[in-house]
Point group: C2
Chain length 419, copies 2
Amino acid sequence: MAKDSFVEIAQKAKTAAKKATTLTTKTKNFALLNIVQKLEANKNRIFDANQKDLNAAQKLLSSGEISQALFNRLKLDENKMRDMIQGVKDIAQLDDPIGKVLLKRELDEGLILTKVSCPIGVLGIIFEARPDVITQICALAIKSSNAVILKGGKESINTNRMIMSVIQEALDLTESFPKNMLNQVFSRDDVNEMLKQDKYIDLIIPRGGNNLVKFIKENTKIPVLGHADGICHIFVDKFADYEKAEKIIIDSKTQYPSACNSVETLIIHNEFKYKDKLIKHIQNSGVEVRFTPESWHKEYSDKILACKFVNSLEEAIEHINNFSSGHTEAIITEDTINAQIFMDSVDSAGVYHNVSTRFADGFRYGFGAEVGISTNKTHARGPVGLEGLTIYKYNIQGNGNIVKDYVEGIKTFKHKDLF
Amino acid sequence: MAKDSFVEIAQKAKTAAKKATTLTTKTKNFALLNIVQKLEANKNRIFDANQKDLNAAQKLLSSGEISQALFNRLKLDENKMRDMIQGVKDIAQLDDPIGKVLLKRELDEGLILTKVSCPIGVLGIIFEARPDVITQICALAIKSSNAVILKGGKESINTNRMIMSVIQEALDLTESFPKNMLNQVFSRDDVNEMLKQDKYIDLIIPRGGNNLVKFIKENTKIPVLGHADGICHIFVDKFADYEKAEKIIIDSKTQYPSACNSVETLIIHNEFKYKDKLIKHIQNSGVEVRFTPESWHKEYSDKILACKFVNSLEEAIEHINNFSSGHTEAIITEDTINAQIFMDSVDSAGVYHNVSTRFADGFRYGFGAEVGISTNKTHARGPVGLEGLTIYKYNIQGNGNIVKDYVEGIKTFKHKDLF
């Protein structure tokens, strides 16, 4: 059988997405539980495929073409496999995000408006090395009744192929599950094609480095959900508690320095009494502190922290709103009024008081799973779970009602909320 | 004083938007009521300005450069002025869409996550001739705490300038209302500049013809909310009630043929007994019925209706999902199962049963006002009122909480919803 072109894949995905709008919760959860079983039964085939990727990656690691960190992310061990399978079980347990009645209003007697959640359609998802991501995204797509076209990192190609084939086996066993809901493409050319298919693809979600996300945002008319930079700030107010400040800053910077929710810039009020001690203790924890203005623009993703002193809360807020990437920022203070001003005035997806920036995460928020973190100002912001993969439609149920009657004043609207 | 460049206007709007995040409901409503007073007190100045536009338009009308319909939309009479002022009063009465708690969750003891609605930032709004639109958009922007940059049609330039200057007088009287919240630009070059300013403008809403909306969507990286085509369908099922079908089709086509929610294509089940009578009656109401496949792609905005016969509900749904612009579609049937299949399977912003497509409208839905109708699959779909001009942020309130404790298993999340 000849291989489908990207456009053919996208067309078939669109057809599948249309069929998926009538999928029942029962069918979707049954599909997810079939996936759990099939993954468990085929662990060794997946490990073998992963070993092939690791063998190829080992050579790239030796020649310095990939980092140890990427190699580690690529490796699928028993623990990651267990978490990956548990993730699918968890998503089966979550409420169905589709078919929720968001508004029910009697426009007039016998004329009922209902706003009901529905899937977006076809999602294009582009992600880098971690092969466990593919399972999570497929499970989220199934639960939210969206079709997906996935393009994973080339380093994990064998693992991704095997996982998708196991998942597809599970779906083939699921009665009345549409064909072509989950699709995978492999080449850079496919990414370029994906960005052009605004007729078939409704939303693109890139998960990966800065350059990938920027490239995608600049080269498509399709809405893109995600974040490029993660330049998070912590402001230590004049009224900060020293112990909390130290603990939160060190957690935010060192707990996982390459995460997008790690702090990159520390802003300290000049009148904070313990500022010298604070900086010394941060440095003692193995963090390099930089005081040059150039550092304010940078996402180090490493144990490096930019630092700036300010004379007021307002100056701190202004700096953050100018330099932040809109991801997550925190204030450390015992003054509740200052905290409230900060929370109201800082324009980011997450704005925290006396808390580490590392809490910005779908699992920690209790969403069960996430497709990524958005710094967009429309559709979905912050960690995006199932809800961010839905939109809504308006249904009206009537009995021959016409607008002429209302325009001519023969009838008038009631607008009585029933829900 | 030198005139600001577009970039300077956009920068100042962004600064205003940041200040606006802390506007209270009281201040916003006070501003709206000041606008009501000022509009009432300055009616004659606005009518005079409108007369200037009408004089210029009269020449264009005589030479055939503009249509009678455009001329009529341009004219601001006592009735339109009254409705325009009432519209501002109505928006003052609506609930504040900002600061709403959408989720409140105890992540752990003393660690509270709150999802709270907030403004989007700076809206770029491009609209055609109707000068009463400007007041409605300014009122919606104020109530939703967004800054706006407005570009109206050149035909109404004098009216728009005068209305904005009266509104600005009212805002100058409103204590603690930020400067530069409402901005107006006038030239085509300004539109081109607007489309480039993704650093300062968060959302563009075009209100106008097909070509305007398509041009904007193809020439900006900023999210665009709106609709280009409005190709709405009505499907007359085998089990349709004849009286309802006739009444609904004639209302949907003739009540206001140039509206985007007017029906453009009629699909009739071949086994519908009264199909010949139905077509004859539609023709007798002054509507031209066309049976060629070319007509299925067209938005006539006139008393012309494309027509197709199908052999099944499924064929009708497939045709609609292929040819529709995703605006509004209706089924006429007495069969509730067929109605439900249609409502679930048709992928449009509005899907109706036994109701005229002309109901697709923010006022008729009870939203009080609308900035437009969206056929997007993300952010907001269908008639967009205040809610579509908001996004949310996540706040976390803690007391020195760090992620390390949860990663290392010292603490575990509770995830208990408080709201």
